[in-house]
Amino acid sequence: MSADRGRPARRLLLGPVQIAAVVVLIFALTEALPGDAAVALAGDQPDPERIARIRESMGLDRSMGGRFGAWVERLAHGDLGTSLVSGRPVADLLADGFGPTLVLAGVTVVLLVPLSVGLGVLAARREGGPVDRLISALTSAVHAVPEFALGVLLITLFALELRWLPPTAVGTDGDLLGRPAVLVLPVVVLLSRPVCTIARLVRAGMIDAMASPYVAHARRQGLSGARVCWTHALPNALAPATQQLARTCDWLLSGVIVVEALFVVPGLGTVLVDAVAARDIPVIQGLALVFGVVTVSVNLVADLVTLRLAPRVEVAA
C-alpha cells in the first residue's frame, strides 16, 4: 500500500524539479547565444562609454552566477523583465497573447474530448462494420491534411465563397469571445488532427478491452451492454489517449503558430514569432519559461490521471 501511495507523491515532487531544470536550461541557452546584448542595444554608433553604462544597468558586468541569482530572484517575484523593443514589461506582453491562445485551446479541448472518445467508442462497438470503416477511413484521411492547407481551404469555401463566417480575427483586438463567429474556423482546423489521433487510440484500446476476460465476466453478471462499455471497458482504453491529450493540450497552449498566423489571432504564437524576428531576448526567455511550465504541468496532470486509469502501470518517474 505504501508503495502505491508513494508513486503519485513522487510524480508530484518531480514537477518542481523539472521546472527548475527548465529555468537553468533557459538561462544557459541565453548565455550561449552569440553577440553582446549591450553592443546590440547601443545603437548604430556604439560609444564605449554608453556600452559600459548599458552593461552596468543590465548587470552584465557581474559574474554569471550573480546574474543567474538575480534573474531567478526576479522570476520569483514574478518579474520577467522588460521587452528590449517596446520597453513594456514582458509579463504584460505574455498576458496579452495568453488570452486568445487560452480561449482557442479551451474551446478546442472542450469539443475534442467528447468528439474523439465518442467516435472511438462508436467505431470499436461496430468493429469491422460500415460505420467503423467510414470512421477509420475519415480519421486517417483528415489526419493526412496539414493545418495550413485545411485552413486555406476552409477560408476559401466558408468565408470567401459562401460568406458564412469571417475569414480572420482582425478587428477583435484579442477579444475572441466577444465575436464567437471568428472562433469557428480556427477551432475546426485545430480539432482536425487531434480528433483523428485520439479517436484511433480510443478505438484500439476499446477493441482490446472489449475482448478482455474482465469484460466477458462483467457481461456474465447480466450488466447492460452500455454499462459494460462505458464503465468497464472505457476506463481501460483511456490511458494512451490521456497521454496523447496531454501532448495536444501542450501544443495548443504553446500557441499554434500556423493557425494564429493564418487567422490573424494575436496569441502566444504570434508573440513568439514577433520576438524572434526582433531578437527580443527577454520576451523569448519569458515565453520559453511559460511553455516549459505549461508542458511540465500538463504532463504532470496526465501522468496522475494515467496512474488512476492504469493502477498497475509504473509511470516513468
Binding site: 500500500m1 505504501s2 508503495a3 502505491d4 508513494g6 513522487r10 478482455s212 476476460p213 474482465y214 469484460v215 466477458a216 465476466h217 462483467a218 456474465r220 453478471q221 447480466g222 450488466l223 454499462r227 464503465t231 468497464h232 476506463p235 481501460n236 488512476r308 486509469l309 492504469a310 493502477p311 498497475r312
Partner: protein
C-alpha cells in the same frame, strides 16, 4: 444422493467447430449443494462443456443438445486465473456494487449486501478490501472476490475452472474449503480439474471426459483410480547424517548470506530473501520448496543473474559470479541456465522453435549455425520432439512440448547448473510426469546440478536429493529429501508435508484405468533397471530411483 433438487441439466450436448466435435454426447445433472467434477486431460472438452452452462460457445460453433438452468437463474464462474476477470482499473467495492445495483434498495443496502457477500466468501476486513484494486490482492483473495461476485449474483450454479492449478498445497487447501463452503450454502458446483486429489476430496460425483466424450460416471471412489502414495526418494549415500552434512563433498554452487529485495519506494526496500546460505554439489538436485511468495523464484533469479539487487555471495566452482547478466562472461552465462515457468512467454512467436533453440549454442558456445542446428535437432529429439514439430513456430506446439523445447534450449548451453522454475505447474499429469523423467535422465547423463524451484512436493520427492524449505524469505529447514518428507522438523515444513499428504491419503480404492493421462502416473515411460546396492526398495513403476554416489 440423487434426491437433491436438480438446478442445471445438460442433455446430449454436442459442440462442433469446423466439422470436428469438441464435445459429444455429454450429460450432466447438477444438484443443489452437490459438487460434480468434470475430469479429463487438457483438450478433453471440460472447459467447452462448462462454458456451455454459462451460455458461451467458441466462435463458429454448431451446438446441439440441451443446456438448461432450472428457473433460469444466473451461473457464477470462478476461472483459473481470477485476476484476469477482475477489471484492473476498478476498485473491488465498485466491481461488486455493480452487481448489487441490480437489486432493489438504496446505496446503503447495496453496500451492506457487498460486505455480506465478501464475508460469506471468507474475506477478512471487507471494509479494507473494497477500497483496493484487484492487483493489490493476493491470488487467493482475488479468487474469494470472484466467489463473492457469484454469491451476490444469487447464482445457484457455480462453475470452478481449474481453481487449484499452479497453487501450492496450503493454498489448495484454502480453495477446497471455499468450494465446500459454496456447496454448503446449497449451491451446485461444477468443478473442472485435472487435480485428482482435489476431486477426491470434494466431489460427490465425477464425470470423466476423454476427447470430448464421457467415459465414466459415478462417485469418485468408484471412478477414480487409487491415489499414489507420496514417494520418498532415498537420499544419496552418505548424505543422510544431518541437515548440513555437505561439508566434505565437492561444491559446484555456493550461496552465502544472500539478502535480496525489491525497491518499494524512495530508499525503501521489501526484503524477499533474508541471509540465505546453501550449496549444490555437482550432479545433485536441490529442490527449493515453499509457498508462493516465499522467495524461491527470487533466489533462482539471483543465481541466473536476472536480479542484481542483493547482498551476499554466489560462487560457481569456487569463482564468484558477477551479479548481473551483463557482468558475466559467455562461459559464466552458459554455466547457469534457467528454464522459466511460462515456456510460451520465453519463446519468440515469430520464429521456428528449432532456430531459437540452436541460438544458445551459437551465442554461448560459439558453434557454427549449421552445426548448432544439428545439435539442436538432436537434443530436441532426445527430449521427444521430432524435427517436423521443432520446425514449427511456438504457437503450433502444446505447453508441454514448449516446456521440453525450453529445456532443450537450456541444455544446449551445456550448463553446470540448471535452474528450473515451476516448470511443471502449467502442465497436466501425464505431461508433468514425462517432463520430470526427461529432466532426471538429462541430469544423469551429463552430471548436471539441478535447482528445482517448486511448490509441488511430489515433484520434489521424485527428483531431489536434498530439499530446502523457504518461508517468507528464510531458509527454515534443509536436508536430505527422505528426511524432510518423512521427518520434517520445522513447524512450517510439517504443515506443508501434512497438506500434501492429506491430499493424497484420502479416497483410496477404485481401480479404473487412467482415462488417457489425467493426474495418474501410468506405467513407466522411461524404464531403467534399479542399480545394485540400493538401500531402499524402489517403488515399482516409477522412473526415478535411487542413485549411487556421484559419478556412479
Amino acid at each position: 444422493m440423487s434426491d437433491a433438487e436438480p438446478v442445471a441439466v445438460v442433455r446430449g450436448l454436442r459442440v462442433e467447430v469446423g466439422g470436428r466435435a469438441i464435445v459429444d454426447g455429454v450429460d450432466l445433472t447438477l444438484r443443489a449443494g452437490r459438487i460434480t467434477a468434470l475430469v479429463g486431460p487438457s483438450g478433453s472438452g471440460k472447459t467447452t462443456t462448462a462454458l456451455a452452462l454459462l451460455g458461451e460457445y467458441p466462435p463458429g460453433a454448431r451446438v446441439t443438445g440441451e443446456v438448461r438452468v432450472v428457473g433460469g437463474g444466473a451461473v457464477g464462474y470462478v476461472p483459473q486465473h481470477p485476476g484476469a476477470v477482475l477489471n484492473p482499473v476498478r476498485r473491488v467495492g465498485v466491481l461488486l456494487r455493480d452487481i448489487a445495483r441490480a437489486r432493489a434498495g438504496d446505496r446503503r443496502s447495496h453496500r451492506e449486501a457487498v460486505h455480506e457477500a465478501l464475508r460469506a466468501a471468507r474475506i477478512e476486513h471487507p471494509e479494507q478490501v473494497v477500497r483496493r484494486f484487484p492487483h493489490q490482492l493476493s491470488g487467493g483473495q482475488q479468487q474469494r472476490v470472484v466467489v463473492a461476485q457469484a454469491l451476490l449474483l444469487g447464482a445457484r450454479v457455480v462453475v470452478a475452472d481449474e481453481p487449484t492449478t499452479g497453487q501450492d498445497a496450503l493454498t489448495r487447501q484454502g480453495v477446497v474449503e471455499r468450494l465446500a463452503a459454496l456447496a454448503g450454502e446449497g449451491i451446485a458446483v461444477l468443478l473442472l480439474s485435472h487435480d485428482l486429489d482435489v476431486v477426491r476430496r470434494l466431489a460427490d460425483e465425477v464425470v470423466l471426459l476423454a476427447n470430448g466424450r464421457p467415459v465414466g460416471f459415478g462417485p469418485p471412489a468408484r471412478v477414480l483410480p487409487a491415489p499414489e502414495p507420496v514417494e520418498v526418494r532415498p537420499a544419496r549415500a552418505g548424505a543422510d547424517d544431518g541437515p548440513d552434512a555437505d561439508a566434505a563433498t565437492e561444491v559446484r554452487l555456493e550461496v552465502r548470506d544472500l539478502t535480496a529485495g525489491y525497491p518499494t519506494g524512495v530508499r525503501r526496500e521489501a526484503t524477499v530473501l533474508d541471509r540465505l546460505s546453501l550449496t549444490v554439489a555437482p550432479g545433485e538436485c536441490l529442490a527449493l520448496v515453499g509457498r508462493s511468495g516465499s522467495g524461491k523464484t527470487t533466489l533462482g533469479r539471483c543465481l541466473a543473474g536476472l536480479h542484481s539487487g542483493y547482498r551476499g555471495r554466489i560462487r560457481f566452482d569456487g569463482m564468484p559470479l558477477p551479479r548481473s547478466l551483463r557482468g558475466r562472461t559467455t562461459g559464466q552465462l552458459a554455466a547457469v541456465q534457467y528454464v522459466f515457468q511460462d515456456a510460451r512467454a520465453s519463446f519468440d512467436e515469430g520464429r521456428p522453435v528449432v532456430d531459437q533453440v540452436a541460438r544458445t549454442a551459437v551465442r554461448l558456445r560459439g558453434v557454427y549455425p549449421d552445426a548448432a542446428r544439428t545439435q539442436a535437432l538432436d537434443t530436441l529429439a532426445d527430449l521427444g520432439l521430432a524435427a517436423p514439430v521443432a520446425e514449427r513456430r511456438p504457437g503450433a506446439l502444446s505447453g508441454g512440448e514448449l516446456q521440453r523445447a525450453a529445456l532443450a534450449r537450456a541444455l544446449l548451453a551445456r550448463p553446470g547448473v540448471l535452474v528450473c522454475d515451476e516448470i511443471t505447474s502449467g502442465l497436466d499429469g501425464a505431461a508433468r510426469a514425462e517432463l520430470l523423467d526427461l529432466l532426471a535422465r538429462s541430469r544423469e547423463r551429463i552430471g548436471l546440478s539441478l535447482v528445482l524451484i517448486t511448490h509441488d512436493l511430489t515433484a520434489a520427492a521424485r527428483l531431489a536429493d536434498r530439499i530446502a524449505v523457504l518461508d517468507a524469505g528464510r531458509l527454515v529447514e534443509q536436508g536430505p529429501a527422505g528426511r524432510i518428507l518423512t521427518d520434517p522438523r520445522h513447524m512450517f515444513t510439517r504443515s506443508l508435508v501434512r497438506a500434501a499428504g492429506e491430499a493424497v491419503s484420502r479416497g483410496r480404492g477404485g481401480d479404473l484405468d487412467d482415462p488417457d493421462g489425467t493426474d495418474l502416473l501410468g506405467p513407466p515411460r522411461i524404464g531403467r533397471e534399479p542399480s545394485d546396492g540400493d538401500r531402499v526398495e524402489p517403488v515399482p513403476g516409477r522412473a526415478s530411483e535411487p542413485r549411487g554416489p556421484i559419478g556412479g
